[in-house]
């Protein structure tokens, strides 16, 4: 069996995935998830290690490693890098066949990707200079209200009259929430309003690419059922979410990795591994 790995070093969390391929086909062997923390290099190594252990596979048996995410140039054991845009598209294509649009909401950025029939990236748009529409916005809102991050989604679903959220600034939304709380607004209505505001903002971003079904959501925020429903409401379409939504980048990286197993290292298509250095 050929074994390939993908490591996705994000700003908040690092994910690793092992994929195996043999005569029976391709399947995910194991995954791991840890906090990135201050030392990116160590995080990548730890995630990879845990992932191999979870699959019961020695690191040396992994044939090829592709790194992705913002920390992709800091993976000491990686063979090459791909951007997470390419990886999310590829991963979604594999795990959710028929995907034509990916909406990725991560800890600190949000993106929409137009995906072609073989998982290729046709077009993409990113919001990476502002935390509106990202997990950070939700996390801040949750903290202000003293509610656990895992509870805000279900809470938002109970909203009957979601409040109007004025600001797009994740810091200023805190004072808006406090203001609503002091006005006696119900927590579910506030949370509903927050989710709706983010969904609108995300869809506004996403509309810059051609939104075509099937629409798949990836990234950590996909675990928030309230967010998924809010997006579906604004979009007017069903959105697909898999349990591996948060690992989509690593899955895609592993798939690229698998593709390259067996090919010459000097293949002109692949860039040589280049660890970034400041000039």
């Amino acid at each position: 069996m050929r074994i390939a790995a993908g490591v996705d070093v994000g700003s908040t969390q690092t994910k690793a995935v092992l994929i195996g391929a043999n005569g029976d086909g391709v399947k995910v062997l194991s995954r791991s998830l840890i906090d990135t923390g201050a030392n990116v290099r160590k995080a990548a190594e730890k995630a990879f290690d845990e992932c191999c252990q979870a699959a019961g596979i020695a690191q040396a048996d992994v044939g090829f490693v592709v790194g992705t995410g913002y920390g992709r140039y800091n993976i000491s054991f990686g063979h090459t890098q791909m951007t997470e845009i390419s990886c999310h598209a590829r991963g979604a294509h594999f795990l959710c066949p028929g995907t034509r649009t990916v909406i990725d909401m991560g800890g600190q950025d949000a993106k929409a990707i137009g995906v072609g029939p073989s998982g290729e990236v046709l077009d993409f748009v990113m919001n990476d200079k502002c935390a509106a529409g990202t997990g950070r916005f939700l996390a801040n809102a949750a903290e202000v209200m003293g509610i656990g991050l895992d509870d805000i989604g279900p809470l938002s679903l109970r909203a009957t009259r979601p409040v109007k959220i004025a600001t797009v600034c994740t810091v200023f939304v805190e004072s808006d929430i406090l203001s609503y709380l002091s006005q006696g607004k119900k927590p579910e209505d506030i949370m509903g309003g927050v989710h709706l505001a983010i969904a609108k903002r995300t869809m506004s971003l996403a509309r810059r690419v051609n939104i075509e079904p099937l629409v798949t959501m990836t990234g950590g925020v996909a675990r928030n059922i309230g967010m998924v429903r809010a997006l579906e409401t604004v979009l007017g379409q069903k959105i697909i979410v898999t349990p591996d939504a948060q690992f989509m980048g690593a899955v895609g990286a592993a798939l690229f990795s698998l593709e390259k197993l067996g090919e010459s290292f000097e293949s002109s298509v692949w860039r040589e591994h280049a660890v970034s250095s400041r000039d």
């Binding site: 913002y70 951007t83 845009i85 077009d123 748009v125 990113m126 298509v269």
Partner: protein
């Protein structure tokens, strides 16, 4: 370890260009000292530098000062000074850098800049230009003339448009004559227009060389470097000599099959000004993919000559007016810019379009989302949208920008691979 791709065009004209620009700054320094020759502050876009020759005057270009500062990583200090004075964070950073320099007595080369004899605002679309020069006039006490050039709101300028500009050009002549106490030398003016015409022809030929594969130069980064003499020396013999040498050198490269990098993997059209404080870093992001710009809109701010327009010495005032009205990118309407880029993609055979949104410049950037929509959805041309600023170093997110560029070329690469497979299978 493979050699890092050379990300800068090096040739003898690169040095010649530097010398010419330094020479110009030295003349300005001399003018600051002696008051001679007279100088006229102008904007780069649709500039009527030929007119100055009739007075033996030389141009000052606040935009060039601003970008020189940014390239040398010196733009932040004057920008902050301007903001302290009351300019907004969202005002065009070119203006802030220029005004800030006046406040703090900074110049790009360390030499002096003279108080201009005339502040001539060639208003060609950019409303910010008008405000900028109003402020320059207010702070320097120099006389201001706003040359109101009608915006190109239909396909071609009307006769009323042309007449209006010609009348104003002659008003400028009258005003300058009064200011410097010397008559306008009509013959020198005509000769200057003739030189311009020659320079334009050479420049146009250079631009068309990028149609070759590989292109001998990068029509964004290298074109920007070559643009200086185009605005300062266009109406002069030195300009003709320089561009003749440049064309020759580049033609040699074409003959030798030499491109910008050892391999030309991607050809792109670039829209928008560059992030001057990160010029080199930005270029390296494209160089790492061996992506070469074969055309750019920013290199046509001073004038658009690759589609056939030339100044005409037989009708000097009218052709100067035409250039200002219709043959520079800023006075042309937004849809004409779409068309310009489309022609570049098709006729220069490009793989995609890079739209660089700059915070400072709404003329370029307001509506680029629609531009993107036109190219991706209507024409099916792969288009990348990235953001930063042209002058203010605080608005460049290196990792994010590189990420987007990498993702874009990854997808182009994938597209090329699947295309060849289809053909090969």
């Amino acid at each position: 370890m493979a050699e890092k791709p050379v990300s800068e065009y090096r040739g003898s004209i690169h040095q010649q260009q530097k010398d010419l620009m330094l020479d110009w700054y030295q003349h300005l320094d001399h003018a600051a000292e002696t008051g001679d020759p007279p100088t006229v502050s102008m904007m780069i876009s649709g500039n009527c530098v030929e007119l100055l020759e009739g007075f033996g005057a030389i141009p000052q270009y606040p935009e060039v000062n601003a970008l020189q500062l940014a390239i040398r990583h010196q733009s932040l200090e004057p920008i902050l000074a301007a903001e302290e004075m009351g300019y907004a964070g969202d005002n065009c950073a070119y203006v802030k850098a220029d005004i800030g320099c006046m406040l703090k007595g900074i110049t790009p080369t360390g030499g002096r800049l003279p108080k201009p004899t005339l502040v001539l605002c060639n208003f060609v679309g950019c409303n910010t230009y008008v405000k900028w020069f109003e402020h320059v006039a207010a702070f320097t006490g120099a006389p201001l003339f706003v040359l109101d050039v009608p915006f190109l709101r239909n396909d071609t300028p009307s006769q009323a448009d042309i007449d209006y500009v010609v009348r104003q050009l002659k008003e400028v002549v009258g005003q300058m004559e009064e200011l410097i106490g010397r008559k306008f030398d009509y013959d020198r003016f005509r000769q200057s227009v003739a030189y311009s015409s020659e320079v334009e022809d050479l420049w146009s030929q250079i631009k068309h060389l990028a149609k070759n594969s590989p292109s001998p130069f990068d029509a964004y980064f290298d074109a920007i470097t070559l643009m200086g003499p185009l605005y300062v020396y266009r109406g002069k013999r030195e300009g003709v000599e320089f561009f003749r040498a440049a064309l020759n050198e580049l033609q040699q490269k074409v003959k030798a099959g030499e491109g910008v990098y050892d391999q030309e993997r991607f050809r792109v059209v670039v829209e928008g000004p560059p992030p001057y404080p990160y010029f080199r870093t930005f270029r390296d992001m494209f160089a790492s993919w061996k992506a070469v710009a074969v055309a750019s809109t920013y290199s046509t701010v001073g004038g658009l000559w690759e589609f056939g327009f030339r100044h005409d010495a037989k009708n000097p005032f009218e052709s100067v007016a035409m250039h200002m009205l219709a043959q520079n990118v800023t006075n042309r309407n937004y849809l004409q810019r779409y068309d310009q880029i489309r022609r570049y993609v098709q006729e220069w055979n490009a793989d995609g379009v890079i739209i660089h949104f700059v915070k400072s410049c709404r003329l370029f950037s307001a509506g680029q989302g629609d531009m993107r929509d036109y190219f991706t959805k209507q024409l099916g041309v792969p288009t990348l949208y990235i953001e930063s600023d042209l002058e203010d170093p605080r608005y460049f997110a290196e990792a994010q920008t590189k990420n987007r560029i990498d993702a874009f070329f990854e997808s182009l690469e994938h597209a090329k691979r699947t295309a060849t497979h289809a053909v090969g299978a």
